[in-house]
């Protein structure tokens, strides 16, 4: 199994969710995060006091995926989240050692 972690632009969340459903993903965890890569922040000014805000709001999506569907999932996220502008985000694929469904105790692929 793999844990696919995608950092995307927040407004792309609905598109990504729809694309993932289309490839059979039935669950995900979403968090509001802050970060930056090559995208610059912005400057805010309050009565003459300037603050450079480097961290930009992003959305983090985590999906546990069986090995055979990893490529389809990554491809779905890529096509849904891409805008072509700087700041589109990143996808990380990490090994997932174990997964357990809390309600039934099913493990690994049965839990996904």
């Amino acid at each position: 199994m793999k844990l696919v972690i995608a950092i995307i632009k927040p407004f792309k969340l609905d598109d990504v969710r729809a694309a993932l459903e289309a490839v059979g993903v039935r669950g995900m965890t979403v968090a509001e995060v802050k970060g930056f890569g090559r995208q610059r922040g912005h400057t805010e000014i309050y009565r003459g006091a300037e603050y450079l805000v480097s961290f930009l709001p992003k959305t983090r999506v985590e999906i546990a995926v069986p090995d055979e569907r990893v490529e389809a999932v990554v491809e779905a996220i890529l096509s849904a989240a891409r805008t072509g502008a700087i700041g589109d985000g990143k996808i990380f694929v990490t090994p997932l050692e174990r997964a357990v469904r809390v309600r039934t105790g099913e493990t690994d692929d049965d839990a996904l």
Partner: protein, 437 residues
């Protein structure tokens, strides 16, 4: 237009003719004036709770929001009690040149039928309450200069002491028959007593307490400016009671004061915004509301003495000068007056007090049996001199009195939270509370 010939003027003339000296019988208490002033009292109290509380808390950081609101609530409680107990008597209860007396301590002598010589058509009890709301907001304003770093205990003790060291004396000098009033100073609703006092005290406090950790380096952005906008809305509307109510009677002068006030707020708002738009490329919401407050503070001393168009001009000048004071001047001098109490209220109050001496128009302040006050434009430069003296004396006394008060507070409870508390946030460190998720 001669206001003296209006019907209101004629009945006012009858009342003034009948009024005995000092504390007269109930024949002089007027239902219309009393009703109006009860409303005005409520409006001004609303300016502090929650007007100022919201205005201020929206501009501080999330971790200090509750603590900032606590200052407005606590100032209301502490100052109100002390006002009724003793401060009113010292400010308005005697005819000394420098201070009142103890004659009205704990409301002694204030009965159902008593009136104050300064407001002869409303119950004195109401006059006490109305003036109380001014004392409350003045003390609450000062806290904004040292937001995010002042101990709660220090703020409480500061309010309690400063009320007697600075506020009550200056109120007595300008409004309670003291030497500034005798010199001819005109201050309709508190350019000196409220705004200049709060501003200078704030500046002194900001310098003594020192800048916030990370000032000039870290991101100290406001928590939620929408709260600040709501707060300014309450302040703006409440100011109709602050300036309108300072007429102390339900009549034309109150209407003139309200209109001049409103036009000044509008002018101040747009002027600040225009300068910001031109200078920085975008007109901020914070600029819109700050300009409005600058206009409101500046018109305060002049509101019952000037024509509406003059209120507009005062607003424009205040919007411009306060914008400069809160940006360029503050940056150049390097102090951390966190919520710009000096830049807006101090500078605005001083400017408005001086401009009252320029624009004062006799027809606005004329009442039955008394000619109105003329300023520079009506050929009386001496008024401007009186205003300048008022500004100078108030600023000087306030600076010294605030410095002394802060030294005492520092010795008794300490002024500033320690570095860890400041970093953790005052809500948690001082009050054991957070805003939650």
């Amino acid at each position: 237009m001669n206001l003296r010939l209006t019907r209101a003027g004629l009945s006012a003339a009858a009342f003034f003719a009948l009024a005995a000296p000092a504390f007269a019988a109930d024949a002089t208490i007027n239902a219309a004036d009393t009703a109006f002033m009860i409303g005005a009292t409520a409006l001004v109290l609303l300016m502090t709770i929650p007007g100022l509380a919201l205005f201020y808390c929206g501009m501080v950081r999330r971790k200090n929001v509750l603590a900032t609101m606590a200052q407005s609530v606590a100032a209301t409680a502490v100052v109100s009690l002390l006002w009724f107990a003793l401060a009113y008597s010292l400010a308005f209860g005697g005819d000394g040149a420098l201070i009142g007396g103890f004659g009205r301590a704990f409301l002694a002598g204030v009965g159902v039928e008593t009136v104050s010589p300064f407001a002869q058509t409303i119950p004195e009890m109401l006059y006490v309450a109305y003036q109380m709301t001014f004392a409350v907001i003045t003390c609450a304003l000062v806290g904004g200069a040292v937001a995010d770093r002042l101990k709660f205990s220090a703020f409480l003790l500061f309010c309690a002491l400063w009320l007697f060291v600075v506020y009550a004396p200056v109120a007595h000098w300008a409004w309670g028959g003291g030497f500034l009033a005798r010199l001819g100073l005109i201050d309709f609703a508190g350019g000196t007593v409220v705004h200049l006092n709060a501003g200078v005290a704030g500046l002194v406090a900001a310098v003594i307490v020192g800048a916030r950790q990370g000032y000039g380096r870290e991101n100290l952005a406001p928590f939620d400016l929408s709260l600040a906008v709501i707060g300014v809305g309450l302040l703006w509307v409440g100011w109709f009671g602050f300036n309108g109510g300072s007429a102390l009677q339900a009549g034309s002068r109150a209407a003139f004061a309200i209109v001049a006030t409103h036009l000044s707020a509008c002018a101040g708002s747009l002027t600040w915004s225009a300068l910001e738009w031109a200078g920085r490329g975008k007109p901020s919401v914070l600029g819109l509301i700050s300009g409005a407050v600058a206009g409101l503070g500046a018109i305060t001393p002049a509101s019952g003495f000037v024509l509406p168009w003059q209120g507009f001009v005062i607003g424009v000048l205040a919007g411009g000068l306060c914008y400069w004071a809160c940006t360029a001047l503050k940056r150049r001098l390097g102090y951390d007056d966190t919520l710009d109490v000096f830049g807006v209220h101090g500078v605005g109050g001083a400017l408005g007090t001086l401009l009252a001496g320029v624009f004062a128009t006799a027809s606005v302040s004329a009442a039955a049996g008394q000619a109105g006050v003329s300023g520079l434009l009506e050929g009386r430069p001496s008024q401007l001199v009186a205003q300048a003296i008022g500004v100078g004396v108030t600023a000087a006394w306030c600076a010294v009195g605030t410095w002394a008060t802060l030294k005492i507070v520092d010795a008794v409870v300490g002024l500033r939270v320690n570095a860890d508390q400041e970093r953790e946030g005052l809500d948690l460190a001082l009050h054991g509370e957070t805003l939650g998720l």
